[in-house]
């Protein structure tokens, strides 16, 4: 969904002090902290799996994925269930969940050159409002996690 043509409706979330947004059409659910069952040998940012009403959903720590320092207390984290383009669901662990916001196209900016290289391919631009920056996440790129083993 191109943020250029129209206003974007994003679910906002906070991780490591930064604010991120995911297109609302890709968000399936939001949950409070829930038990994560370990999956040994998975890449570091994959914390394991959660049992979502009988479905097995892989849990990814957004902080770790974006190379941000890990949260002090993970038990307070929230989960955003997002959908990969293949239909598979994943749980993103974030610090806080914000509102669903409608962001006007004129506030959109493409990735600044100064953006952290590691983030660059996972972000699709950002919105600036009142000095606050909201980075739009590319879900598919976010979920392209290289195998650790």
């Amino acid at each position: 969904m191109s943020p250029h043509a129209a206003d974007a409706q994003l679910v906002t979330m906070y991780a490591g002090g930064a604010c991120f947004g995911v297109p609302v059409t890709r968000v399936r659910d939001v949950l409070a902290a829930t038990q994560i069952y370990a999956a040994p040998l998975a890449p570091a940012c994959i914390l394991g799996s959660i049992n979502l009403r009988g479905r097995i959903v892989t849990a990814i720590d957004l902080r770790m994925r974006l190379a941000l320092p890990p949260a002090a207390d993970r038990s307070a984290s929230k989960c955003v269930i997002v959908e990969h383009s293949s239909g598979e669901s994943y749980a993103l662990l974030v610090d806080e969940i914000g509102d669903v916001m409608l962001l006007p196209a004129n506030l959109y900016e493409p990735n600044p050159i100064t953006l952290n290289k590691h983030w660059a391919h996972m972000c699709r631009g950002l919105y600036r409002q009142d000095g606050q920056m909201l980075v739009v996440l590319d879900i598919d790129a976010l979920l392209e996690i290289e195998a650790a083993v």
Partner: protein, 915 residues
């Protein structure tokens, strides 16, 4: 596309497959009338339905095919390869037309007059030459043509605006009317005329009749009936419009596939999938409820929950049954495939099937269709020889491919065997070497089975030419991967010259499996029950211990050495581990057995297999994930993936022993323990019996302990100093010859171990010949001669010395073990034994003294250098290693471990010298 067409397509496809199969069988068994009727019936139905639906092109082709079949049935034409091939061609065309119909919703434009003409030509080839007087019925093409034309006509008529009223009548009735009426008139047979029937149906109008007749005419034209015949037929029809015939009881329209249709119903695949998913979820919830119940056995929910449990299990099983299909469905196309291959390759191929009704999950069926096809191709192309070659090999000219299927527990076992030339090990070896898949060393030492396994290697193909059929070298590895992906195994056994057999084992269902829940490092995992053959407790009071060989953990289990994998290491779990009590799961993957060390085993559960997340799919140790009854998500382990961890040791322990056998001789040693720390051993071959002596049975003669044994007194000697004879019940190992026996008293008999005879000797003590490492423990091989000498007692030997012991025997062998093995035997037999290490030493001795018999090592190049007048007996270790030419030059040969054989040769010599 409307429902009628959709139904027609699926039925037609099934029918065509059935027709394929039946026709191929018919070609081989042309004398089977039932088969022929079936074929005819199927083709007729196809033709009929096509006509009914107005599918002119399909109808025409089917009709032409049916013509030939009709000729077969009437005996006017005998099935030849050509005619059958032609019909098969027609079938292929029908398949293509059907495919187009499915894709586009309509038949493709075009016509097939060429094929039809060819078919008709064949059909009429053997028929009587057309006579001018040939009846109209025949010229028109017989009843079948009229049938077809009638259908086409009806379709056309109803489509026409004038045919509005025709819709008011039942199609079947109209059809019969048209057909019977037309046929009656044309063939001259009696029967209700068309017009009469029409009147009965309330369609007596002229318009309808004329419409139908015109449509009939057009239909006949479309079917390629000769124009003159058509004209004549129409005239006859119109003329034969007699006044209404007496009321004829209407025959009920023949219900197609009557009773059988009532028993089956077509269901969308997606609906079944959904049903399966929901049933699986129910299973999970049931597990969860049961788990909760375990904590509260007194709960009022207990009763209903148990009933729910039963019902859920039944539901699960029932749903699984709906997904089951007989494997014959996957085999359907194979006979036709084989026939075509046979023609293409100029070979004779016969496919036999057994167990086609064996059922398996629909999903699994789909997945094995391609592998099966590939293996049939391989068998036909590479396995089976050309008829000439087969005849030369004394085999019947027709090669056989045998398919069989059966259930075994929760698996289905499918075998594909052929009686062809089998895998040629030498060729495989060479090819593998050329492709650098194996090193030259490996090429020498790898067993035949291991070489055969190489065909599963990607890119491996020994086909000299890549034929259009197979030999692209992408085959068997893909086959194996596909089968293993669904949790199955492929095994291969082949005998050169005789044939090859592939055995595929697949689980019956993929979704719900029985799994063992194990714990390791604080985490739980599920191991599919089907791979687990045994559970072994290690450490603690269990008695077994994990040993290490070259740093790798192994477990000795009933004389096999199994490689082990530590799950904790594998999963990089670092929770503290109780070394003392752990558990080893013995797994079997194909031909490989190995063990996985876990901390504990919980229980067995029926789990629903869910695919692992895509990001985890690269980890080879997982085959999926599941949710336990308590809601926990755990990973399902993949035995094959874990086996890869074993890396270089990718031989099963059986293979390891085989290789050991190939390289070295194995000998069975009786391992025992005296009072000392070192174990002792002696070749089992030398042992006569093992007795148990009670304290009170030990008696004393001349102050020396003896035991009454088989009617004589047997002296007892202790294995070592610490053993106190008679202190308690002790095992006694008895060695004997014909006259004398000696009992070796030991503290404990440990085991019988098969071990390679590695000649590392350091004669350590007087009572030992040397030491070996047996099952990782240093063991002394005892020198029996020492013990015999120890048992020498003052009592005269029981053997009467009619012959003074001046018989001298010479033993020539570079190896002390071998020399000492025979020496006691010879001594007991009354010979004075001299030993020589080499041929030179021996020759020197021979010059100085005369020997009655010389024993020489048969395998070492000693014999050639010996020249003596005395008989020379060759001794060998392993019967398989001795070759014919080695045996020449010896008076006799015998296995040195075979006491009886050695003594027999001695006896024979004695008799000869006595005579």
């Amino acid at each position: 596309m409307d429902d009628i067409l959709r139904d027609f397509l699926s039925e037609a496809n099934d029918s065509i497959d059935a027709l394929d199969r039946a026709l191929v069988r018919f070609e081989r068994e042309p004398g089977d009338p039932e088969l022929l009727s079936e074929i005819f019936r199927v083709m007729h139905t196809i033709k009929g339905t096509c006509g009914f639906l107005g599918l002119a092109r399909l109808a025409a082709v089917a009709h032409a095919g049916e013509n030939i079949l009709g000729q077969f049935r009437d005996g006017a034409l005998s099935p030849t390869q050509d005619s059958v091939s032609a019909i098969l061609e027609a079938i292929d065309l029908i398949k293509a037309l059907l495919a187009h119909l499915e894709a586009q919703g309509a038949e493709p434009a075009g016509e097939d007059s060429a094929l039809i003409q060819r078919l008709n030509a064949i059909a009429s080839a053997d028929a009587a030459p057309p006579q001018a007087q040939e009846p109209l019925a025949a010229r028109v093409g017989g009843l079948s043509t009229i049938d077809c034309a009638a259908e086409l006509a009806l379709a056309r008529a109803k489509a026409s605006p004038e045919g509005v009223r025709l819709h008011g009548a039942q199609d079947d009735t109209l059809l019969s009317a048209l057909r019977d009426g037309a046929w009656g008139a044309i063939s001259g047979e009696a029967g209700p005329s068309l017009s009469a029937t029409l009147i009965q149906l309330g369609l007596g109008g002229e318009a309808e009749l004329e419409l139908l007749l015109r449509s009939l005419e057009a239909g006949l034209g479309e079917l390629g009936v000769d124009a003159e015949a058509i004209a004549e037929a129409m005239t006859t029809l119109r003329a034969g419009d007699a006044p209404p015939a007496p009321v004829v009881a209407q025959t009920a329209p023949t219900a197609q596939s009557s009773s059988i249709a009532a028993q089956t119903i077509r269901v969308q695949v997606e609906a079944l999938e959904q049903l399966m998913n929901v049933a699986s979820e129910l299973v999970l919830i049931r597990n969860q409820l049961l788990q909760t119940l375990r904590a509260q056995p007194e709960s009022p929910f207990a009763g209903p929950l148990h009933r729910l449990n039963h019902v859920t299990t039944e539901l699960q099983e029932s749903v699984m049954t709906t997904r089951m299909q007989p494997i014959g469905a996957a085999w359907a196309k194979l006979p036709r495939l084989a026939r075509d291959l046979a023609l293409e390759l100029n070979k004779r191929i016969d496919v036999t099937m057994q167990g086609e009704e064996t059922e398996l999950d629909r999903q699994v069926l789909e997945l094995i269709k391609d592998p099966l096809t590939h293996m049939i191709r391989n068998a036909a192309d590479h396995g089976l020889e050309a008829p000439g070659e087969r005849a030369k090999a004394g085999k019947p000219e027709t090669g056989r491919i045998m398919l069989s299927a059966r259930h075994e527990g929760s698996h289905i076992v499918i075998e594909i065997a052929d009686d062809g030339r089998g895998l040629m090990t030498a060729k495989l070896r060479a090819k593998a070497l050329a492709q650098s898949l194996i090193t030259p060393a490996e090429a020498e030492t790898l067993s035949e089975n291991k070489i055969q396994q190489l065909i599963f290697h990607p890119g491996f193909s020994t086909a000299a030419q890549v034929s259009g059929i197979s030999g692209r070298g992408v085959g068997m590895d893909v086959v194996r991967t596909n089968i293993e992906k669904i949790g199955g195994t492929v095994e291969l056994s082949s005998t050169e010259g005789k044939g090859t057999r592939f055995t595929i084992r697949i689980p019956l269902t993929l979704t719900i499996v029985s799994a063992l829940i194990v714990g390791c490092g604080g985490e739980k995992f599920a191991m599919p029950q089907s791979s687990v053959v045994e559970l072994v407790g290690v450490g603690g009071g269990a008695g077994r211990h994990i040993e290490h060989v070259n740093g790798a953990p192994v477990l000795r289990l009933r004389d096999r050495l199994l490689p082990l994998v530590s799950l904790q290491d594998l999963m990089q779990l670092d929770a503290p581990v109780r070394e003392d009590e752990r558990c080893v799961l013995i797994l079997r993957v194909g031909a490989l057995s190995y063990g996985v060390i876990v901390d504990r085993v919980f229980d067995t559960e029926e789990i629903v297999v869910k695919p692992a997340a895509s990001v985890l799919r690269t980890i080879p140790y997982y085959s999926g994930a599941t949710i336990l009854g308590d809601g926990a998500v755990i990973m399902i382990l993949d035995p094959k993936g874990i086996a890869q961890r074993l890396g270089a040791i990718d031989a099963s322990s059986d293979d390891a022993q085989e290789e050991a056998r190939a390289g070295e001789t194995l000998v069975q040693l009786l391992v025992m323990r005296g009072a000392g720390a070192t174990l002792k051993a002696t070749p089992l071959q030398l042992v006569s019996r093992i007795e148990e002596a009670e304290t009170q049975s030990v008696e004393y003669a001349n102050g020396k302990p003896v035991l009454q044994y088989r009617g004589r007194l047997m002296p007892l000697v202790a294995l070592d100093e610490g053993v106190r004879i008679g202190a308690r019940r002790q095992p006694v190992v008895v060695f004997e010859d014909e006259t004398r026996a000696i009992g070796l008293v030991v503290e404990e008999i440990i085991d019988v171990v098969e071990t390679p005879l590695r000649q590392e000797f350091k004669p350590s003590a007087a009572d030992a010949l040397g030491s070996l490492v047996v099952a990782d423990r240093v063991t002394d091989i005892i020198d029996l001669a020492y013990y015999w000498r120890g048992a020498a007692f003052d009592a005269a030997p029981t053997r009467s010395l009619t012959q003074p012991p001046t018989k001298r025997a010479l033993i020539v062998d570079p190896r002390p073990f071998n020399r000492n093995l025979i020496a006691p035997l010879l001594a007991m037999a009354g010979y004075e034994v001299t030993m020589a290490e080499s041929a030179e030493a021996a020759s020197a001795l021979i010059e100085r003294e005369s020997f009655a018999v010389i024993f020489s090592d048969a395998e070492a190049p000693v014999r050639a250098q010996l020249s003596a007048s005395a008989p020379i007996i060759g001794l060998y270790d392993d019967p398989l290693s001795i070759r014919q030419r080695d045996a020449e030059g010896f008076t006799q040969i015998a296995c040195r471990f075979d006491r009886d054989a050695v003594l027999a040769t001695l006896n024979a010599l004695q008799c000869r010298s006595a005579a």
